[in-house]
Symmetry: D2
Subunit: 305 residues, 4 copies
C-alpha cells in the first residue's frame, strides 16, 4: 500500500491538494546527524530549480511555486536522530481546488484518474490527488536521510540523465527538450544510476535478489516503464563469450563489490497542450526523476544494511 | 530470503544436489481442484523436453535426466486443496557430488560461487547448491497452482520467446541457437508475457504498483537482466503525442482492464565450453525461462486477489 | 518497530514533548464516513475526563491540560475516507522540557528510562519521550476509526474496569483509588473486554490464532502485565468435565460466533510520591487504559476483515 | 497463516494423518552446528516419554507410537547449516484414517472441528487434521534449532510445570493427574518459563514490545488460555510501593538484563471418556506443553537477534 520497506519502513501520505503531504520513516538508527541543507537541495533538484532559483530547461514554471518547506515533527532532537520514527510534513500552500474543478467529471488520457475511481469508487480530483507526482517530494526527503546513512558507510549513489528521445549527448538535452515543448509535445528519457562502495554480499540469493529490489523500488516511480542492469536489453545481441565478465555489480542476486550500474526509462508526460491539457507541464519528466531515482535506490539499499 | 509473497506465501527450499528441493505454498484457498497433469507439463516445459520426450533445441541433454516427480506432502486431500499449507518435494535422484568436486576450490566466472562464499563463509559447492537453476522447478510447481486459481477466474498468462540474439523470427530461433552451441558459445533472449482478463483495479497506486511487483517477481529469476512494459525502453524515442495512448495495461500502478504486456531479457549462460566449463550446457537459457516467467507472474498476481 | 498490522497498517510517531505526536493509518477502505465527535469522546475517556469536563477519580489533574485536538492531514475529504493513508497529528501544546531537566541525569525506577539509553545510546528525556503514555492518544485515534469500520459491520467492542486492587465492586472503585492516592501510593487493576458480532471464522488455526493476536495487541499497552481469555488462569483449578463448554468465543484460534471475553491486568504506576516522584500521577492507570484496550482490540480485529 | 517470524521465518505444514508433517526454517545463519540428539530429546519430552522409554504420568499411551523420526531435506551439510532454508519432515507412520471415520460427521465439543468446516467449507477430519496437537512436533524441531543458536550466545530458556489443578507441589503432580485420569476426566496446568542471559535492549518500545511477542508466541499454542509476566494477575492486589521494583525482566517493552519470568495456563483437554470421547487421551496436556513453550519462546527470541 503506502509503506516501503520493512527494516527502514517508510510510510508516505498526503493528497497533492489536501492540507499536507509527508511521511514517517521508522527504523533509522539513533545518533545519525541529519544534514537538513542537503535534503533541501535534493528537493530543489526534484523541483527542477537550481540553487540560484533558475528553472531547469523543460520543467514547468509551475514547479517554482511548489512548496517545499519541511516541518520535522518527531524522531530528531537537536539535529540528531533518536531511533524513534521520523515524521515530517510539507504543507500544500495555495491549494486552489477550483483550478481542478473540471477534473471532477473528466478522466485525463494516460493518467490514473479513471482507474482510481474504478478501484476506490471515490476520487480526490484535486490535481491528481494521491497519484500526483507531488508525492515524490516525500520520497526525496526520506531518501535523503537514507542517503546520509549510506554516505556515512561510504556508499554513494549517483544518477544522471543519459538519453532524451534519441539524443545521448547531454550537451544537447536542453535543446531537444525545448523543441518538444515549443511543439506542445513531450518526450521520454533514460536515467542511469551508479552505486559505489556497496559491500560484497548485499542482497539475497533467491527471491530477494538485489536487482529485484532495485527494480521494485525504481518501477514504483510514476512514468517509469523499464529497468535494466549490467548488460541489459542491448546485451541480447552479444554472445556469452563477449559479455560473461560484465556483472553489473551483482552476481546471483548478491553484490560482488564492483560498481553497480542500472538504467531506467521514463515515458513522456501525457498532459500536454497537444493532448488538449491546459497549463504548462514538464516537457521531459525524466529530468526531475533523477533525484527520485536516487532516493528510491537509497531507500531500497538501507533495507539490506 | 526464501519466501515470496505475503498473501499466497511461497517458501522455496533445497540444494540442487542435496536430498530434495521443494516448497510450501501457504494461503491457497480451500476447495481448489489441482490439475496435477498440467503441473507436470509445466515441469517438462521448464526442462526443455516436449511431451514426446524430445529435447528442445539448445537445451542441454542433461536436462532429460533431471528428476521432476513431485511428492505432495500436505494441503491436498483427494486432489482438492484444504486451505492448509501445500508442501511438496522433488527428490534429487542420482546426486553425484563427486562430479562437482572440482568446484570445491574453483569459482566459476559469471556465477555466484564466489559471492556466496564471501557472504556465508560456507558454500554448498555441489552443482551450484542453492544458486542452481534447478531451484526454479519449485517455482514452476507453486506457480502452476497459482495459475490454476487464476484460470478459474479467467485470468490467463502466456509467455513466449520473441528474440534470440538479434533474431526476431521464431522460425529461425532453433537455427540461431544451434549455431552458438556448435561454436561452444551461448546467446541471450527476450521473453514477452501477456496477461489477459485481469480485473480493473489490480495493484496499488504508490509503492505497490502492479508493474513494480511484476518487475520484482521476474527480476528474481536467474540470468534476468531487465524488465519493461508498455512502451518500454524503445518508447524513449517517441514523443508523447504518439504513444500517450499505450498503457501496457497499467495506469498509475493499477490495471486498466486491457491486456498487460511486458518483456524481460535473459543473458547468455556463462558456463560454456568456450569459457572452459566442461559438460553440455544450455546454449540459450531464455528458452527454458519461459515457463518460469509465467510461474513468477502467476505467483505475483495471486498476491492481489 | 512503530508499525502495527499489515492490512490496516498503523504507524505511530512522536515524542511526548516534541512538536507533535500522531499517526498514519493505511489500508482503510474508501467511503467510510468518519464520526469525528466519537473520536474526540474516546480521547476524553483516555484523558480520564467526563463530557462535562470533570476529572475521573484517581486521574492526575495534569490530564486536563493534555492537548487532544486532532489535525487531520490526509486521507479524508469532506468527512469521507479516500482509500489513501489517513495521517493525523496532535500538537504538544505547552511543552515545557525544563520541567523534566532533572530526568536528563536520573533513571526512574519502574520506567524505561535506563533501558532506552542502553538500547539507543541516546534518549529523549523530555517527559519520557517516546515511552510516555501520551503515545496511546494516537492509538485511540486510529483505533476509533477501526471501531467505526467494525460498527458498520455490527461488531461491537466494550471494555470496562472490573477489579481495582482486591475490590471487584465497581461502586467502590473510586473510594479504593482515592485511598491509595491519599497515601501517595498507586494500585493495579483488571480490564475486561467483550467483543460481540464477530463473524465465525475470524482468526487463523496455527500461529495467527485470534487469541494470539489479541494478546499481542493488548500486551503492547504500557503497564499491561497479563492477558487471559475464556477460562483464563482461574480455570486451572477446574476439571475438563466442568469447563469444556466454555470457549471464550474462540475454538482452535478461530472465532466460533459466540461473544469473546478476555481480561488484562495493569500494574500500578511506579511514579508516586511514595517512590519519590514529584507531581501528581494517576493512582490507578487501569482507569485510563480502558479505551486504549478497546482501541488496540479494534486495530487487531480489522486486520482480519 | 502458517508462517511464524520474519527474521527467522518458520513455516509449518502437514496434516496429522496425511503423508507427513514438517517445516521450513529460513534465516538461520550459516555455520551453526546442529546437535541432532538434542532435538530428538526435545521430541521425546513433547511425546511425554523419558529417555528410557517410560511414559510420563498422565500422558496417553498412544503417544509412544507417535512417529518422531526427523528427515532433514535441506539447509544442512555435514551437520552444519548453510545459511539456506532448513526443511525437514516427520512422516506419519501407520496413519489409519478409518479410526477417525466417525469424525467425518461429528463435531467434538471443545475442539475446532466445527469452526474449521465453517471457515474453509472443507475439513480434513482425519484425527483433527491440521488442528491436531501433532503439529507442535514441527515447532519443537524448529525451536530446537533456535535454542541452539541462543545457547551459543549464552541465552538459556527453561520452562517447567508449576501448578496442576490447585496443586503447586511438583512432587504431587503425578498423583493429582492420575486421579483425574482414573475419573475419566482431565485437568489444567500452569507452565512457568525463565529466560537467562538475554542481552539488555531486546525488544522494541511501542508495538513490538518483548512481552507482546512472547505472549503472541505462547498464546499460539493449542489449549493455552492466558499469559502473564512479572507481577502478573496476582500483582493486582499489591500497591505500587510494594511491587515497583519487580520488572519481570522487561521495562517499557525492552529486556533490562535481569531474568525474564512468565507463566502461561493450559486448559484441560476436552477429549475425555467423561465427555464421551473414546480412546485414551492426556489427562493434563500442560505436561507435554512444557517443551512447546520453550520452543515457541526460542522462535520468538531469535527474531530479535
Amino acid at each position: 500500500m503506502n509503506v516501503f520497506g520493512d527494516k527502514w519502513s517508510f510510510t508516505s501520505f498526503g493528497e497533492s491538494h489536501g492540507l499536507a503531504i509527508g511521511g514517517v520513516l521508522d527504523g533509522v538508527p539513533a545518533g545519525l546527524h541529519i544534514d537538513l541543507a542537503m535534503i533541501h537541495e535534493e528537493l530543489l533538484r526534484r523541483k527542477g530549480v537550481t540553487d540560484d532559483g533558475v528553472l531547469v530547461t523543460g520543467v514547468s514554471p509551475r514547479a517554482k511555486n511548489e512548496p517545499d518547506e519541511v516541518e520535522w515533527l518527531s524522531g530528531v532532537m537537536d539535529g540528531v536522530t533518536l531511533g524513534t520514527p521520523i515524521a515530517f510534513i510539507i504543507r500544500n500552500k495555495d491549494a486552489r481546488p477550483e483550478d481542478y474543478e473540471w477534473l471532477k467529471t473528466t478522466y485525463r488520457v494516460g493518467h490514473a484518474d479513471k482507474v482510481y475511481e474504478q478501484k476506490y469508487g471515490i476520487r480526490d480530483w484535486r490535481g491528481g490527488g494521491r497519484a500526483s507526482a507531488r508525492e515524490t517530494a516525500s520520497r526525496v526527503v526520506a531518501g535523503g536521510i537514507a542517503k546520509q546513512e549510506l554516505l556515512k558507510r561510504e556508499i554513494e549513489i549517483k544518477a544522471e540523465l543519459v538519453q532524451v528521445g534519441a539524443e545521448t549527448n547531454p550537451a544537447k538535452f536542453a535543446e531537444v527538450i525545448a523543441a518538444y515543448r515549443k511543439d506542445g509535445d513531450s518526450i521520454g528519457g533514460i536515467v542511469e544510476c551508479r552505486i559505489k562502495g556497496l559491500p560484497v554480499g548485499t542482497g539475497e540469493p533467491i527471491f530477494d535478489k538485489l536487482q529485484a529490489h532495485l527494480a521494485f523500488a525504481v518501477m514504483s516511480i510514476n512514468a517509469c516503464k523499464g529497468f535494466e542492469y549490467g548488460t541489459g536489453f542491448e546485451g541480447v545481441v552479444k554472445p556469452g563469450s563477449e559479455i560473461n565478465a560484465i556483472s553489473g555489480g551483482i552476481a546471483g542476486g548478491i553484490s560482488d563489490g564492483t560498481e553497480i550500474v542500472f538504467r531506467c526509462v521514463f515515458k513522456p508526460t501525457p498532459s500536454t497542450p497537444k493532448a488538449g491539457v491546459k497549463g504548462r507541464h514538464d516537457a521531459c519528466v525524466a529530468v526531475r526523476a533523477v533525484p527520485v531515482v536516487e532516493a528510491m535506490t537509497a531507500l531500497s539499499l538501507v533495507q539490506f544494511l
